[in-house]
Amino acid sequence: MSAEDILISVRGLRTQFGDHVVHDDLDLDIRRGEILGVVGGSGTGKTVMMNAILGLMTPAAGEIRLNGRLFSEMSAAERRRVDSRWGVLFQNGALFTSLNVLENVMAPLREHVDMPISLMEEIAGMKIGLAGLQPEAATRFPAELSGGMRKRVALARALALDPEILFLDEPTAGLDPIGAAAFDSLVLELSRALGLTIMMITHDLDSLYAICDRVAVLADKRVEVVAPLRELLDHPHPWIQEYFHGPRGRAALAGKEI
């Protein structure tokens, strides 16, 4: 494949908190238009890697490029434009608790886009519907929502600016299986219709089987392997074997009948 198809490339990433090294010499490529699943045991630094790519934390070493441009060399204005082109769903939703659902989804629109307020409200309402929420939810506050609804609001907010890149941190954790399946099909539909590039941290094996084009496995402080799921199943790394061939892995596999 050509270098041009790579949207985000991470090279030699090293992150650490004090003496505790989370990643060491980590490489990862995210291709344009793919859905990349990220798996790894608890504490292997999946979220930390996402934060490093998003620029929320400064890595100790390594470079991160978007379309071949180094993040560290971008001007503030350029960073701001980039920020408006990606959407992030944080693990706990990270909704603004003082704003209601509609205002939460409108927040990125207000910040980055010039359009009439009434249209903003309509578009925010559309995103709320797109994320699978009922219209009654629009005027409620995050504290009044269930965990699953909060996830959906967070997705609606992440989608508000029609981003080109979507980062999802455990989007289906805490959703019921039906809701999770609907979420998967929504993500797949959006990525196909809009040509989205998606990086999705997940433990949901069904999601991995259903929608991910490739899966990156984090182990031993780096990305052990990135490959389509089919190829991963035969990878000799013990954690990967345990993960995909443990009882849950087998159940998900049987359900999918690959």
Partner: protein
């Protein structure tokens, strides 16, 4: 698209033409969230002036489109009974039609929020709501007070339920750590009182009465008042914030299901600590305030420390000291109760935490000043 970090978009264009009795919308350029804002009015005009069944969208000239653009284009035909029918589309576009249909099928119309009422009625309604809220607040503070007292009585009957470690920790926080700032403040207050008195008393030739002035003012009022206000600003806000944060993280709920009574585990240690430490802090404040007054009397009026102390002993009654001291535990109790109660009232959102901390400080200072006035009246009537 390739090689650039950010793709620049062409502005969204729209031409509307009549074609054989049908209204043809021909969008051009990129219909993206950044660009479609300007076309809102144009689409609305089409919606209002054309029969929804006669609207045709010509996709040939359309560039890129995202869900915002798809929503706006789809809105034109939304009111038609068959919004996705072939009659509405003309021309070819790789994704537009599918996206428009997808977006429309998932769109839900949100009800606009209730408009606030303005004018005279609105003002009256707000005043009424404010009064009712103040009344309910007072009632529920009293309820909390009652609950704390019953918890305290139960603990008195079952002393092994008392939690010593958190109480001692709270005493350190509330008492020991607060002593320096309270002593410094009280020192300055004592000095200021001495200065004010010095000028006034010298003009009538009774400089030496500065001793009584400082003594009475600091012992009766300022020592305990400074302590109470510092407790309210320092410890009370900390109580509200810490209990409120625990409430937000569902820690209080976790305690309840584990069979721990949060009143026993969280409220009582703080209340006990405040009630015990307030008199000690007040004592410290008194000493420091008198010391401040003494230094000023010495430097500004040549009243030597020996004379100051001798006169202090001979002229001032112990009653002044006890009046000040008697108020301290009451203020400590009130401050602790208000702080803990506001913490328990915190809901899930960050806003409520901030609001409750503010309310807690304001209410406790208010309560302290009001009680101070009541005490003054009471002791005046009693002639102490």
């Amino acid at each position: 698209m390739r090689g650039e970090t950010v793709i620049t978009a062409d502005p969204a264009g729209l031409t509307v033409r009549e074609d054989g009795g049908r209204t043809v919308l021909a969008p051009s350029g990129d219909w993206l969230v950044d660009t479609v804002g300007v076309q809102d009015a144009a689409i609305r005009a089409v919606e209002e002036n054309s029969e929804p069944g006669d609207i045709v969208i010509d996709l040939d000239g359309l560039g890129r489109i995202d869900t915002a653009g798809a929503y706006l284009l789809g809105r034109a035909t939304r009111r038609c009974s068959q919004p996705d029918g072939d009659i509405h589309y003309r021309g070819d576009h790789p994704t537009a039609r599918r996206l428009i249909e997808e977006v429309r099928s998932r769109t839900t119309i949100c009800q606009p929020a209730r408009e606030p009422v303005f004018g005279f009625m609105g003002a009256m309604a707000r005043i009424g709501a404010g009064l009712e809220a103040a009344w309910l607040e007072a009632v529920s503070t009293m309820a909390f007070f009652g609950r704390t007292v019953t918890t305290g009585l139960r603990m008195a009957a079952q002393p092994w339920r008392f939690r010593l470690t958190p109480t001692v920790w709270a005493m350190e926080e509330v008492g020991v750590n607060a002593l320096p700032i309270i002593a410094v403040l009280s020192f300055f207050i004592g000095a200021v009182v001495a200065y004010m008195g010095a000028n006034l008393l010298r003009s009538v030739g009774f400089s030496v009465f500065t001793v009584e002035l400082v003594g009475i003012a600091v012992l009766r009022e300022f020592g305990v008042l400074i302590t109470a206000i510092m407790l309210a600003g320092r410890s009370d806000s900390a109580f509200t914030a810490s209990i409120g944060a625990m409430k937000m993280q569902q820690e209080i709920d976790a305690m309840r299901v584990l069979g721990l009574d949060p009143y026993e585990a969280l409220v009582m240690p703080r209340v006990v600590a405040c009630v015990l430490m307030a008199p000690l802090l007040t004592f410290g404040a008194m000493i420091s305030g008198i010391f401040g007054g003494m230094l000023v009397a010495w430097s500004a009026q040549d009243i030597s420390p020996t004379l100051f102390i001798t006169r202090f002993h001979s002229e001032l009654d112990w009653n002044h000291f006890w009046v000040g001291m008697s108020k301290a535990p009451v203020f400590g109790l009130v401050v602790a109760i208000i702080g803990c109660r506001q913490g328990m009232e915190v809901r899930g959102d960050v806003e409520s935490l901030g609001r409750r901390v503010t309310a807690s400080v304001v209410q406790s200072i208010f309560a302290v000043i009001v009680l101070e006035a009541l005490f003054a009246m009471m002791y005046l009537e009693l002639g102490i």
